[in-house]
């Protein structure tokens, strides 16, 4: 699906060359830096890639990446399901906005680590606490983005919906949500980037599997090659989600634009 999509969008060859040259330069700098320093502290690219391939072959890396992805998906879904309606409500109602604005500021500024520790203390070292901790970190950002969108909703369309008696459900589905879609996509983008980083911390502190747990383990063994291999694998997966899911969705939703 993703490859077909990439093939459909014609990329000029000069752009491909620039990307390839830039990647090669990065690998070269990495290699030289590794040679100049201690190979145990900064293993060369070749070593890291052989660890990556070995991890994929024996399935261990894939399993941990899969577990982490599942946590990312669960927290992301929870954060969007809670944050989007609250954001829309605060954008539409001035009194709700006034009342909850200070709460929002508070939650926006609580460090992720505090939420995680408190969730584990209050609910125990369980999966639900881990997911909730990540979602709580993300929800305020979703609210802020969606509130901004809901504030600028086109009044003309809302009046049209009211005069023609569309009712709440139809107004939401056909008038409000399509107009807020760019804001939902923006919240998803920044959400994905934030959430996967926090999920690793949650795993490091209170889970016995996932990429974060593994990195903690490698840290204790001073296994930098494995740490880098897991990082590369996960960055690759997240980039794939962006290219194969988010961007095509956005394009489809924008096909009405001239």
């Amino acid at each position: 699906m993703a490859t077909r999509h990439l093939l459909n969008a014609p990329t000029p060859w000069s752009a491909v060359w620039w990307h390839a040259a830039s990647a090669a330069a990065l690998l070269l700098i990495w290699h030289v830096a590794s040679a100049l320093t201690d190979a145990r502290l900064l293993p060369p690219p070749a070593v890291v890639f052989s660890v990556l391939v070995a991890g994929i072959r024996d399935g261990e890396l894939l399993w941990h990446v899969g577990i982490t992805l599942a946590r990312v998906a669960a927290s992301f879904t929870l954060a969007m399901l809670v944050g989007v309606p609250i954001g829309i409500a605060m954008g539409r109602s001035r009194s709700l906005d006034r009342f909850f604005d200070s709460w929002l500021v508070l939650f926006l500024n609580i460090p992720a680590l505090v939420t995680i520790v408190l969730c584990y203390v209050w609910f125990g070292l369980i999966e639900a606490a881990a997911i909730a901790a990540v979602a709580v970190n993300k929800i305020p950002n979703v609210i802020v983005t969606l509130r901004e969108g809901a504030r600028t909703l086109n009044k003309d369309h809302l009046e049209m919906a009211q005069v023609f008696r569309l009712g709440r459900a139809k107004t939401l589905r056909h008038v409000i949500l399509p107009e807020l879609l760019p804001f939902i996509v923006a919240a998803s983008r920044s959400g994905l980037a934030l959430i996967w980083k926090i999920v690793l911390v949650v795993e490091l502190l209170g889970r016995s599997n996932g990429v974060g747990f593994q990195i903690h383990l490698f840290f204790q063994f001073f296994d930098v090659a494995s740490i880098l291999a897991y990082t590369i694998a996960f960055v690759g997966v997240i980039q794939f989600i962006e290219l194969a899911i988010l961007q095509p969705l956005e394009r489809r939703a924008n096909r009405w634009r001239r």
Partner: protein
């Protein structure tokens, strides 16, 4: 109220409160009139005299006024159905022409074939799946017209729907409007600042003063519409509207 009652408007006062340094503004004052069921009434007045405000009050979009409004309701219906052709077409850009129209209909209306009839009458039958941004201004306005008639309204509100079109296009749309209205009769309240437009369309012209808007003249036009393509007749109607210095186009 009797089942066959028409439109009854009684706006004692509509005032916009002061915003920042802007003084409070009285938009409408002592504005009273009724319209028979099926009558085509043009509200004629200078820009800024509160015409759009009045339509929004009638449509229920603005409830912050002193007075009352009673709408025509068809026998057997609980609530009056309103069709509104706004000054801008107000189509949803992310929905196609046909989706925009069917969105506001009941399932029975959507299945009744009325949309297809109206699209054919407005020569839009080839574009049901086009997105509004790809349509010309004139076409968008026809879609808005179709949408307003398709709900089979008890009251059709029109707010300068043909403004900013070139004159031949506007003329064609006016004739089209009358044609559709004859096929789907309903009470119409048509707002305009163009005397000529009012003279071509109306059964009755209500002339409004500048703000605060109230009624200056209530002029029934009994000349049959088929005779109104004569410029001399239109001119005589304009003469009767007080010489119309203020409104001459």
């Amino acid at each position: 109220m009797a089942a066959m009652s028409g439109l009854e408007i009684d706006v004692r006062l509509k005032r916009y409160p002061a915003v920042g340094r802007a003084a409070p503004h009285i938009a409408l004052k002592d504005l009273r009139f009724t319209a028979r069921r099926g009558e085509f009434v043009c509200l004629l007045g200078p820009s800024g005299c509160g015409k759009t405000t009045l339509l929004n009050i009638i449509a229920g979009l603005d409830r912050d006024f002193d007075g009352q409004v009673s709408l025509p309701t068809a026998p057997g219906k609980e609530e009056p159905v309103i069709g509104y052709v706004f000054q801008n077409p107000r189509l949803l850009p992310w929905r196609t022409v046909i989706e925009n129209i069917k969105l506001v209909l009941t399932p029975e209306q959507a299945a009744s074939g009325i949309v297809e009839d109206l699209l054919a009458a407005t020569e839009l039958q080839e574009f049901p799946h086009a997105y509004p941004e790809r349509l010309s201004v004139g076409m968008s306005r026809r879609v808005a017209l179709v949408r307003a008639f398709a709900v089979q309204p008890d009251l059709l509100l029109m707010d300068e729907p043909f403004v900013s079109l070139d004159e031949p296009t506007a003329d064609r749309l006016r004739l089209l409007l009358l044609e559709i209205w004859r096929a789907h009769p309903t009470t119409v309240l048509f707002v305009t600042h163009d005397t000529r437009e009012a003279a071509v369309l109306a059964d009755r012209i209500i002339l409004l003063s500048s703000a605060p808007g109230s009624i200056v003249m209530d002029l029934p036009i009994d000349i049959p519409r088929c005779e109104r393509n004569d410029p001399a007749i239109i001119e005589s109607i304009r003469q009767r509207l007080n010489g119309g210095d203020e409104f001459r186009v």
